[in-house]
Every structure is written in C-alpha cells, then in structure tokens.
C-alpha cells in the first residue's frame, strides 16, 4: 500500500551487516558484543548466560525490541541501572536500518505519512500506541533485524546523544511477526559490569533528557575519602569510630564490594 519511490527510499536505507555502521562499531569494540544496564535486583538472574528481555512498552523509540548498545559505547545505557549485562550476538545475516542517518529517518517519515492510519498519530490521544504500532509495522514490512539510533535520553558524562549509537534488535516468530518475551538473538547475557552510580530516569512522570549523576557529583565536592572492602567493614569493630572520624573530618567512607 506504498508507492515505489518511498519503498525505494526505505530499501536504500537498509544495509547488510557487512556494509553497515554496526560492522565498524563491532570492529572498534573488538567483537560482536552488546551491553545493557538493568536494575540491581536482576543481577542474580544473570549469573549464568541468559536471554535478555524483549522490551514491549509503547514508550520506546523503535517499538518492541531488545534495546542494547554495542560495546563500543560501554557506559552509554548506564542510566537504566547499575548492573551491566554483556552478551555476544551474531549479526552476520542481519538487515540493518541505520536511523542515525538523516536520510534513513526521513525515509521512515515518508513511509509513515502515507500509512492509512497516519491521522491517528496527529489527531488522536492514542499517538503513543499509534507510533508503537507504526514502528513495529515498519520493521515487519521491511524485515528489519536491527535499528541503529542515537539515544533520546542521556546519562550525564556517560552518554553522548550526538555520538553514541544504540541498537533495537528484533526477534522473529516463525511467521515473520516481531516476537515478544525473551530474546534468542541476545541470549547469552551475563552480569559483567558493576557501576557505582545511580540516575533518575523521570521527573514529574516525564522522561528526563539528561539524567544527572547522583553519587559521583556529590563525591566530587568532598576532598578526602577512604575506600574499604564492605566485607571487611562488616566485621570491623572499629567501624563506628571510622565513620565518626570521617564525619568530623568532612570526608567520606567508600564501602566497595571486593569480588
């Protein structure tokens, strides 16, 4: 239900892996590995290689997919949690839509504007669901395995919206629909990175564009500190005295987890 010129514009924006920007990013990082930061409570679920969850919430940029970053940008998604899950993947046969390229984004806009339901995006209260539907339909119609895009949100100093590239990876059902539930394509994720930082994702219920560092920003203002293994600290009878000393001296005690 779409004219030839628009179909051609979209198709010319879809690359094989070998010709795509993802190939360069994989080479830069030293291999096809991706990372996704999640909340701490999921750390124990990923002590052994496990499948990443496919995100289905309509609020995401490119529809139902598994959202990760190539390891070329290892801390880019840190605003979503302290636990970095790393997995390998095989992109060799993927069709890749590079939405970091303005021409590709405009090809999508041309395609969506001729969809019969386009008016729903601009004239109804259902625009979030309508956009979600359109993005999924677009990826299904053009059999897109992976969308590359610049993130909409950034973590202060960890993410660069203009430079970083994230991936929305599609898992397929046997009849060519976008699958939900757990990803087989990103199926060997393991707890690999622990980050000493927390970000706030929303303000007054709306997603923030740039999430501030909460811990590092505070510690930067304190001149002295003392690192201490939390395991040792738990059994240290002098710990109360140590804490009081830091309080009195205006310094802080950093309890870290020794592996």
């Amino acid at each position: 239900m779409v004219g030839k010129s628009i179909l051609g514009a979209v198709e010319s924006s879809i690359m094989t892996y070998a010709k795509s920007r993802l190939s360069d990013l994989v080479d830069e990082a030293g291999g096809p590995y991706a990372i996704k930061f999640v909340k701490s409570r999921w750390a124990t679920n990923y002590l052994t290689p496990s499948r990443l969850k496919i995100s289905e919430t309509p609020a995401l940029t490119w529809g139902t997919a598994t959202y990760v970053t190539p390891l070329a940008f290892p801390l880019s998604s840190a605003l979503y949690g302290r636990i970095g899950l790393v997995t390998d993947f095989d992109p060799s046969k993927w069709r890749i839509f590079d939405a970091t390229d303005a021409a590709a984004r405009m090809a999508y806009v041309r395609w969506v504007r001729v969809q019969p339901a386009f008016s729903n995006l601009v004239l109804t209260v259902h625009s979030t669901q309508a956009n979600h539907y359109m993005r999924n339909k677009f990826r299904e119609d053009f059999k897109i395995d992976c969308v590359l895009f610049n993130p909409d949100q950034e973590a202060d100093l960890h993410t660069d919206r203009g430079r970083d590239v994230w991936m929305a990876v599609t898992d397929w059902t046997s009849d060519g629909k976008i699958d939900a539930f757990m990803s087989d394509r990103l199926g060997k994720a393991r707890f690999t990175v622990l980050l000493d930082e927390d970000f706030v994702l929303e303000e007054n219920g709306l997603p923030v564009e740039r999430a501030e560092r909460q811990i590092e920003k505070a510690t930067e203002t304190i001149l002295n500190h003392q690192p201490m293994d939390v395991g040792a600290a738990r059994g240290d009878p002098a710990l109360p005295t140590t804490v009081i000393q830091h309080y009195v001296n205006g310094s802080y005690l950093h309890l870290f987890i020794r592996p």
Binding site: G3, S55, E56, Y80
Partner: protein
C-alpha cells in the same frame, strides 16, 4: 469469568501501561517473563486466554498486550470477545491488533468482487454489517448532526482494513466500499479525502489494490 486474568489485571497493566513509566513497565515485564518460565504457567495462561469471554477482565492496555502476545503465540481468542473489544475501543492500533489476530490464519481467498453480504470471513463480515447498520440513525427524530456521523463507524472499520493491509482485509475494504447503503457516498468521499493526503504513486497503489479509481490523473 477468567480468574487468572482477573487476578493478573493490575500486574499486566503495570507491565504495559506507559503512564507508569519505562522503569515500572520494564520491571513488571521482567517479573512476568520469569513467571512464564515456570512450569505450567504459560499453558494455564493459554487456556485462560482461549476461554476468556469477559471484556472487563483486563484494562484496555492489558488487552492490547494480551492480543498481541496471543498473536505471536498463535492463540485463538473468542470471536464475540474480540468483537466487543473492537466496538469498545476507539484506538486504531488496538483495532488493527484485533483484526490481525482474527484473520492471520484465515485460508479464505476472496475474489475481488466479493459482496459484503456473502463475505466469507465471518468476523470481518460481522464488523462490516455492524458498521453499516443504520436503522436507529434513519429515524425521523434524529438530529442532522447525528445523521452526519452515519459513516463514522464505517470509516473507522475501513481505516483498520486498509492499515492491516493483507489481501483478505483489502478485499473486505473493497466489499465495504462497494456496498450500497445509506452511507455509501459519504464513505467513498472519505476514502477520496484520505487518498488526497498521500503522494500520487501511493494513491495509485491504493486504487489498484482496492479496484477503485482514486487518482485524479486517472479520472481525468
């Protein structure tokens, strides 16, 4: 009444309702994924979905998720329930998801000249008959403003058929557009207006698929 779905109502809503925010959606989604890996849970859920008749069992966001999940798992849902949900919702993506679920495994291959009255797919036929029923709108005491909305339901159904865009739903769209009823001319005019919003090439594709002249160039 589906007990499992009713119990899961708030849980599923937190998983998929965007108003709870990304973090809550993802958190509940991961928890639900864990539940699905437990032995017997997914098969119980499948049985509940097949047996469900109650449109109030879930919120609209919950149903939308469930319908899409059922589609990926090829689980059939009760036709009357789908029809009720279709009538209840004004959201076009939700209506598209319903039609997709109700038609994806259809083996009907309708001819281009299939009439609405004999349309071979029962669910689509019921949708079209419901959308073109005008008995209550033709009463003399109805205000003209109500009569003007004669085609509102048919417009929405047509839009869903076009958007889903499979050979079956496009054949249904053609049957709906050709059906001679009170709103025939208004529905055709609506399609013409809609077609004017797209580029000429796409308009020609629509015309060919529907077997209807839409292109101004073609008409001249």
């Amino acid at each position: 009444m589906s007990e499992l779905l009713t119990l899961a109502r708030d849980y599923i809503d937190r998983m998929v309702n965007p108003s709870y925010g990304y973090a809550t959606n993802e958190d509940y989604s991961l928890r639900f994924a864990q539940l699905l890996t437990r032995e017997g849970f997914e098969s119980s859920l499948r049985d509940e979905i097949r047996a469900s008749h109650d449109a109030d069992a879930l919120t609209s966001n919950g149903w939308l998720w469930l319908i899409q999940w059922a589609r990926t798992r090829r689980i059939e849902m009760d036709e009357d329930l789908l029809l009720n949900l279709f009538e209840e919702w004004s959201s076009l993506p939700a209506r598209c998801a319903i039609v997709d679920l109700a038609t994806y495994n259809s083996e009907f291959k309708p001819r281009p000249d299939t009439q609405l009255s004999e349309f071979p797919h029962r669910f689509l036929g019921r949708l079209m008959r419901g959308a073109t029923q005008t008995d209550d709108l033709e009463k003399k005491d109805r205000r003209s403003s109500e009569r003007l909305r004669l085609t509102a339901r048919a417009e929405s159904v047509l839009l869903v058929f076009l958007q889903v865009g499979t050979p079956l739903t496009l054949a249904a769209a053609t049957a709906l557009l050709r059906y001679r009823w009170q709103g025939h001319d208004e529905l055709s005019e609506y399609l013409s207006l809609l077609a004017e919003t797209v580029d000429p090439e796409t308009r020609d594709v629509w015309g060919r698929q529907l077997g209807i002249r839409l292109s101004r160039e073609s008409q001249e």
